[in-house]
């Protein structure tokens, strides 16, 4: 009985072999944490580069501004993490973000109370996600195609509302946008950043401490197995797209706070930034492996690259795209290398 599961006896302890064994023991059983650890390492490295090159880079407020300036992208990436963990993809989040921002700006202009406007916008996003989930699950449509349709659909609805930018003048929205949560050391966070962190924490709780969350991982690991283990695959698949739609809409509300307008051109291509952040955060594109924390790190990594470029001042902003592209490829190759060998 024993010997079946215990690893082979360690080799005789030559210094090199024992060091190798220690590394192996450290990695052994923690394989799934490697990508997320690498993401963290990349972020730390970027910070190190920034702090060596530029004075003022390591100011606490500069770091916190990363959260402030990327709050909506964090929320987007959190939603997309659910979808990718379950083995799907969501291309509609950028458009849903724009739609949610548009709905907010439009309804406020129409004189709706702000405390009603926000739930309506969130509900609209969740509803679009729910519909996409249903199309994907019940009609067996490829997630790529279904959410591509959702992307055009939501973007089209934006233009239907207005082709012009709608400014937001509502006093409550203004107050929310200005609200700062003071932190020690004279620093502060915007309300949006706090909401984003709360969303990430809530997502982590759901993914690790609820049956729905564990089922998301199970479906991402093997959909047919999850079905045969008696899990409700349909509920999971529809659920993750609904979560993603809701998060995209929440991102839209945060975006309106940040930008103070609704515009049909908001969030163009942002769905791809969100997916890139999730992948750079170490989540496997084929599903089943990854953490919300990684996605947050991924967003911060993208944000840090941009901050470095701002500090550099002379470089074209397209360099952030190039660096992000290289990082993305590196992470995909890393995942390939770490992927569990397919059992034949």
């Amino acid at each position: 009985m024993t010997g079946l599961s215990t690893p082979p006896p360690p080799p005789p302890p030559t210094p090199l072999a024992s060091a190798a064994a220690r590394v192996r023991a450290l990695v052994d059983g923690r394989r799934r944490f490697i990508p997320v650890a690498v993401s963290g390492l990349v972020l730390v490295l970027l910070f190190a580069v920034g702090s060596v090159r530029y004075t003022g880079f390591l100011e606490p407020q500069v770091m916190l501004n990363l959260l402030v300036n990327n709050s909506f992208l964090i929320v987007l990436a959190v939603g997309v993490t659910f979808v990718i963990l379950a083995g799907g993809i969501d291309l509609s989040t950028g458009s849903v973000l724009a739609l949610s921002a548009m709905i907010c700006a439009w309804l406020l202009r129409e004189g709706w109370p702000p405390l009603l406007v926000i739930p309506v916008a969130l509900l609209a996003g969740a509803a679009i996600g729910f519909l996409q989930g249903c199309i994907i699950h019940f009609y067996g449509v490829q997630p790529f195609i279904a959410t591509l349709g959702g992307m055009f659909f939501a973007r089209g609805l934006c233009y239907l509302i207005s082709t012009e930018s709608i400014p937001i003048t509502d006093p409550l929205f203004g107050a929310l946008a200005q609200a700062r949560v003071p932190l020690p050391g004279g620093t502060s966070l915007s309300l949006g950043a706090v909401v984003a962190l709360a969303a990430a924490a809530a997502a982590a709780f759901v993914l690790h401490r609820t049956r729905f969350g564990r089922s998301v991982y199970a479906v991402g690991g093997s959909e047919s197995s999850a079905m045969l283990m008696g899990l409700s695959v349909g509920r999971v698949k529809v659920g993750v797209y609904t979560v993603s739609g809701f998060c995209a809409a929440l991102g839209g509300v945060l975006y309106t706070l940040y930008i103070a307008s609704g515009n049909s051109l908001h969030g163009l291509g942002m769905e791809l930034d969100a997916i890139a952040a999730v992948v750079i955060g170490g989540t496997l594109l084929t599903g089943g492996f990854g953490y919300v924390l990684g996605s947050v790190v991924g967003v911060l990594t993208l944000g840090t690259i941009q901050t470095i470029l701002v500090f550099e001042g002379t470089l074209s902003s397209w360099w952030s795209r190039i660096v992000a592209g290289v990082l993305l490829l590196v992470f995909i190759l890393l995942q390939r290398a770490l992927a569990p060998r397919t059992v034949k």
């Binding site: 009985m1 079946l4 059983g29 690790h208 690991g221 093997s222 197995s225 045969l228 008696g230 089943g288």
Partner: protein
């Protein structure tokens, strides 16, 4: 727990239709608490379908299922688990990305104050594993363990469900001897607790080791339920195969006189050819003009064996020489270049193009060999097609009729003709007579024999023993994906002899 006489599961009259086929036709079984019951049959006999009906993956079109004497309808695997029916599938159906503990308890995770409690989950899973005598680190990802352990984890999951019925669908096919031992110990423990266990396998030795009773299916129909005392392995194999092709003997006697050609140097010389999970390494020699038959139950590795020769699957050991020249078996290119032709078992999926005409189908391989840059002259094409249609007696309205419109037997002859046009030196025929009528069978056999007379070497795979015996100079017997014996068909060999080899040959 009312009466001991109540069967744990009683399925009867189960009918299940799939588009175009009736997979189950009145099948059933009766499972008592505390027994290990074998479900047997060839591949395609309906074992898997019957299990999937029991576990709710398929809905039966007719028939009844009773669990503990109460009629139930099982609507999906979740529902089956509610009725106390748990299943361990051949391919482990767990999630390799999750921990062992999660795989055991998924869907029933113990909860603490803050949602699922990983600590309590790990403790519970570790207790279960220890209770079954398994030493596992339950916090590790399942994918880090070998398949054997994954199978055991799947059983642990069933144990935690308090399953009263455990279905094991070919659980041993990817395990080695020691791993099978451990699995059997676990099964025995569960049996002694009163769990009813349905054991599906094609390893007959294991059936006789583990089971008291067995139910045999053939072509979706029940053949009967027997105890291991009243039916030996030979009889069992006979029942699984059925009385096939007895009529053919009346159509025609032996296709040749049974004398193998004089000892010529082998055309094909294979040594230690094998592939993990496909067929164990085997040796094979085929001489020009010789017909070698491959016999064995469906799923015994016959097709896998010939696919290796042709490079259709990549062997991971061994070598093949043709005329003393080593062949590269990475793709079928080199074997085709050396004059090998492979006529696939699945003529619809891998052979004929149903929408193309008879002529096009006949010339497909020839044209492929010439290359698309050198089309054949129209006249040469017409002559060639004409000649083979008449030689093979293909009954078609015209050479331009789509192949899909022909009967099965004629389709098979077109496929055979495609390779004969190539004048192959070794013809590999995989089940060339399956699903065609008696007359067509006899004609295909005649063609094969005639081809061999002209010096073509033939490898002939068939489930019908009579056919193999009638045609072959030598018979290679496979069993459990291993070549167990090679018999000279010199007149002394009969069906019973081969049956005995299939059932017991090479055992232990």
């Amino acid at each position: 727990m009312d009466t001991a006489a109540e069967p744990a599961v009683h399925m009867s009259g189960i009918v299940k239709d799939f588009p175009g086929v009736r997979a189950l036709d009145g099948a059933g079984l009766r499972l008592e608490p505390g027994e290990v019951h074998a479900l047997l049959g060839e591949n395609g006999a309906g074992k898997s379908t019957l299990i999937k009906v029991l576990t709710g993956v398929h809905r039966p079109d007719a028939g009844s299922i009773e669990v503990d004497g109460r009629p139930v309808s099982v609507n999906g695997p979740q529902d089956a688990e509610r009725h106390g029916i748990a299943t361990v599938y051949q391919e482990v159906n767990l999630c390799p990305n999750l921990s062992v503990a999660e795989n055991v308890l998924l869907g029933r995770e113990p909860r603490g104050r803050f949602g699922i409690s990983p600590r309590r989950m790990n403790r519970r899973a570790a207790e279960l594993a220890a209770g079954m005598g398994l030493d596992l680190d339950v916090t590790r990802a399942l994918g880090e363990y070998p398949i054997a352990v994954q199978q055991l984890v799947a059983i642990l999951r069933a144990v935690d469900l308090d399953a009263r019925v455990l279905v094991l669908d070919e659980p041993t096919s990817s395990l080695d001897r020691d791993e099978v031992r451990i699995l059997f110990d676990l099964v025995e423990r569960l049996r002694s607790r009163g769990v009813a266990i349905l054991f599906v396998t094609h390893f007959l030795d294991q059936v006789y080791e583990l089971c008291r009773r067995m139910t045999v299916l053939r072509n979706g129909r029940p053949v009967g339920t027997f105890t291991t005392d009243e039916l030996d392995q030979r009889g069992l194999v006979g029942l699984m195969l059925g009385e096939q092709a007895g009529e053919l003997d009346r159509v025609e006697g032996r296709a040749h006189d049974g004398a193998p050609p004089p000892d010529a140097p082998p055309l094909l010389h294979a040594r230690g050819l094998g592939r993990k999970g496909g067929v164990a390494p085997y040796d094979l020699d085929v001489a020009p003009g010789q017909i070698v038959g491959l016999a064995g139950l469906l799923g015994s590795g016959r097709t896998e064996a010939v696919r290796l020769l042709f490079g259709a699957d990549r062997p991971d050991s061994g070598s093949v020489e043709v005329d003393g020249r080593l062949l590269s078996l990475r793709t079928p290119r080199a074997p085709i270049g050396a004059g090998l032709a492979y006529c696939s078992e699945d003529r619809k999926a891998e052979g004929l193009v149903a929408d193309l005409s008879v002529a096009d189908n006949l010339l497909l391989a020839m044209q492929a060999a010439r290359g698309w840059m050198r089309p054949m002259p129209r006249k040469a094409r017409a002559e060639l097609v004409e000649r083979y249609i008449s030689a093979l007696r293909i009954r078609t309205a015209s050479p331009d009729t789509p192949v899909g419109a022909l009967s099965g037997g004629n389709q098979q002859k077109v496929l055979l003709g495609r390779w004969l046009i190539m004048r192959p030196r070794l013809l590999i025929l995989d089940e060339p007579t399956r699903g065609i009528d008696i007359g067509a069978k006899a004609e295909v056999q005649r063609l094969v024999a005639a081809e061999a007379e002209e010096g073509t070497a033939v490898l002939f795979v068939s489930s019908e023993l009579e056919e193999v015996l009638r045609l072959s100079h030598r018979v290679v017997v496979l069993r459990d994906r291993r070549v167990v014996s090679t018999l000279d068909n010199d007149g002394g060999l009969d069906v019973d002899g081969v049956l005995a080899e299939i059932a017991e040959g090479g055992a232990r």
